[in-house]
Amino acid sequence: MNFSIYDFTSFNQWIDKFLNDNLPAFWAVAVEMVIIGVAILLFYALVGLFLVYAERKVCAFMQNRVGPNRVGPYGFFQTIADFIKLMLKELIYIKNADQLLFNLAPFIVIIASFMAIAAIPFAKGLHAIDFDIGVLYVIAVSSLGVVGILLAGWSSNNKYSLIGAMRSGAQIVSYELSVGLSLITIIILAGTMQFSEIVEGQRDGWFIFKGHIPAFIAFIIFLISSTAETNRGPFDLAEAESELTAGFHTEYSGIKFAFFFLAEYMNMFIVASIAATVFLGGWMPFHVGSWAGFNHVMDFIPPFVWYIGKTFFVIWVMMWFKWTFPRLRIDQLLTLEWKYLLPINLVNILIMAFIVLMGWHF
C-alpha cells in the first residue's frame, strides 16, 4: 500500500477494495456515494467561503483599503461569521410571490453549480466522475443555473428582479455559445472530451502554448464569456446594483440569498477550474520540452497545488477586471457577443482545425 500525493488512484482503489471486502457490493457503492457527496459538499462550502474572503481582500487591496481584518487572523473567519449571520436571518415572506418557484430558484442555482463540480479533476485520480464527454457535461450543467435566475426574477413579483432576470437570460444564452465554441477549439486540438485525457495530453506542454495563436485567442474568449456567464463584473447586468438595486435576488433574504451568493462564487471557481484544466494543463506541472532537470523539479510540486494555483490565478484575473472595469450596457453586451466574439470564435475554430490537420501544432 503506497499512498502518494502525486497520484490518488491507489488511494481510491484501496478505499474501494476495503469497502468491497467488508460490505456487500450494493452497500459498498452506497457508502462510496455518501463519502463523495460529503467530500464535495465540504469542499464546496470551504471553497465558497474562502472565495468570498479572497474577493474581499483582493478588492480591498485594489481599492487601497485593508479589507476584513477583525475576525480571526487577517479577518480569515469573517465570511464564516457572515455565513452564520445569514443563516440566522429572517426569511422574508413576499406577498403575491409565486411561493413554489420563489423557494425553488436558489436551489436550482446551487444544484447546477454543485453538479458541475463533480466532473472536475482536482489531481491525478481525484475526481468524482470521469465522463468521456466531460466538457459537454460541464457546459450543459453549468447552463442550468440560468433557469434558477429566471425563476427568481419571475417569481419574486418585483420589476427590478424581472428586468434583472430578463437581462440575465439574454446574456447567458448568448455567452453560452462562446464558452462552448472556445472549448471546442481546444477539443479539436486535444481530440477528446474526457477531462482526464485532456490533462494527460498536456504532459509535455499546456494547450495554450501548444495550440499557437488560436489557443490563446480561445483562452481570452473563454475568459470573457465565462465571466459573462457567471454574471460577474463588468458583465454583472443581472445584478447591477446601481441600476436594479440587486437585480434578480432583490427580494431574497437570509439563507436563500446566501445560496445565490455562494453559487456565484462557486460558478466562478468552476469556470476557472475549466480554464485551468483545458487551457493551462489542469494539475499537470509546468514542463519545458527537453529541460529534464527543470521538469524534474516541477514534478516535485504536488498536482493538487498546481491545480489550485492555476485556478486561483484565473480567479484572480477575473476579480481583477471586475474591480477595474465599469459595467457594460445590455445592448453593448449582446453586440460584443454576436458581432465580435462569435465570428472570431468561428474563424478561430477553422484555423485550429486547419492547424491540427496539417500537424503544425507542437
Partner: protein, 375 residues
Amino acid sequence: MKEVINLPVKNVEEEEYHINMGPQHPSTHGVLRLVVSLQGEIVKSLKPHCGYIHRGIEKMCEKDTYPQIIHLTDRMDYLSAHINNHAVCLLVEKALEVEVPERVKYIRTIIDELNRIASHQLWWCSFGMDMGGLTCYFYGLRDREKILDIFEESFGSRLLHSSYTPGGLMMDIHPDFQKNVKAFIKYFRKKIRDYDDLLTGNMIMQMRTKGVGLLSKEDAISYGVTGPSGRASGFSCDVRKHHPYGVYDKVDFREILGTKGDTFERYMMRMNEMHESMRIIEQLIDNIPAGDYSAKMKAVLKLPAGEYYQRVEASRGELGVYCISDGNKTPYRMKFRSPNFSNLSALDHISRGVKIADLVAIGGSLDYVIPDIDR
C-alpha cells in the same frame, strides 16, 4: 342579436410599466424619487418627485439673523458648503456696503476652489459607482480626505465648517495652510492621472457615455442648466467669468465649453474643471496678502430695506440668493436659486429613449445633490 364588444386591443410591445427609482435607490444619491415609465428597458418618460428631504430652509431663514443663515446654507448643497456660504456673505456685504480686506478675498477664493475640487472628486467617485466601477469610489475619497484635512486644520471641521462670516472669516488660516495646499496640488496632479487611467480612458466607459443623453445649448438655456452640465452643452454660464466675485477677476483661468452636450462631455467638463481649479489655486496661494482676516462689523447686522440678489458659481452651477429685507435683523424673505433643482428639471428631457443603465449614467453626470433640490 349578439352584441359585438370591441375590446381595446393592447399591443404588448407598446405597453409601458412604471418603476420607482428611489427614494431608496443606490443611484439617486439620496432621497430622490424618480417614477420611470419604461418599455422593456427603454425609458419613455420620468417624473421626479422631490420633497423627501425638505427642511424648509428658506422659511427658517426668515427667523434667523444673517450670520445664522450662513449655517443653514451649508446644509443645502453640503458638498459645496463654502461656496454657498460665500453667496450669503457677499449678499450681506453688498447690502451693507462693506469692503472686505484683500486677504479675505484671496483666502475665500482659494477655499472655494479647494471645495470645488473636493466636490468634483466626490462626483467622480459616485459617477464611477453609477457606471459599475466601484474602485473609483475609494480612489476619489482617498484624495478628498486630503482637502478635508486642510479644512480641518484651519477651521476645525471637515465638511460644514461655516467659517465665512459677513465681512470676513471666523478665524485666520493655519500657518501650514499654504504649505499643505501646495503639497496637495502636487499630489493631486499625479493622482488625477490615475482617474484618467481608471475611468476616462476606459473603453467601456466611453462606449456608454459618448453620444448618450444629449442636451442641446438651447435646451440647456431654457431649462436653466448651469455649471459644468450647462457648459458641456456650450452654454457659457460661468459666474466666475461673467460676474466675478472674490479675486476671480485677477486670476487667469479658462471657462471650458463643450459642444455636444452628451454624458461624456459633462464628465470631461468636471475633470477639466479640477485642473482649472488647481491652476487658480496655484496662482493665488503664494500671493495671499497680509492683513486682517475680517472687516470690522457691527454686532447686530441689519440690512437696509430693499431687495438684493447675489450669485456665485457653486460646484454644480449657478447659486443665486435673493433677499428682501425690511430693515430688521432677519430677512423678510429669502429665496435660493439652487443649481441642482434646475439641472434635475432637464433630466426627463435628456433621458427619453435611453436605457435604464444610461439613465443612471446621465443622473451621475448631472451630479445632483438632493438636499439642494429640496432645501
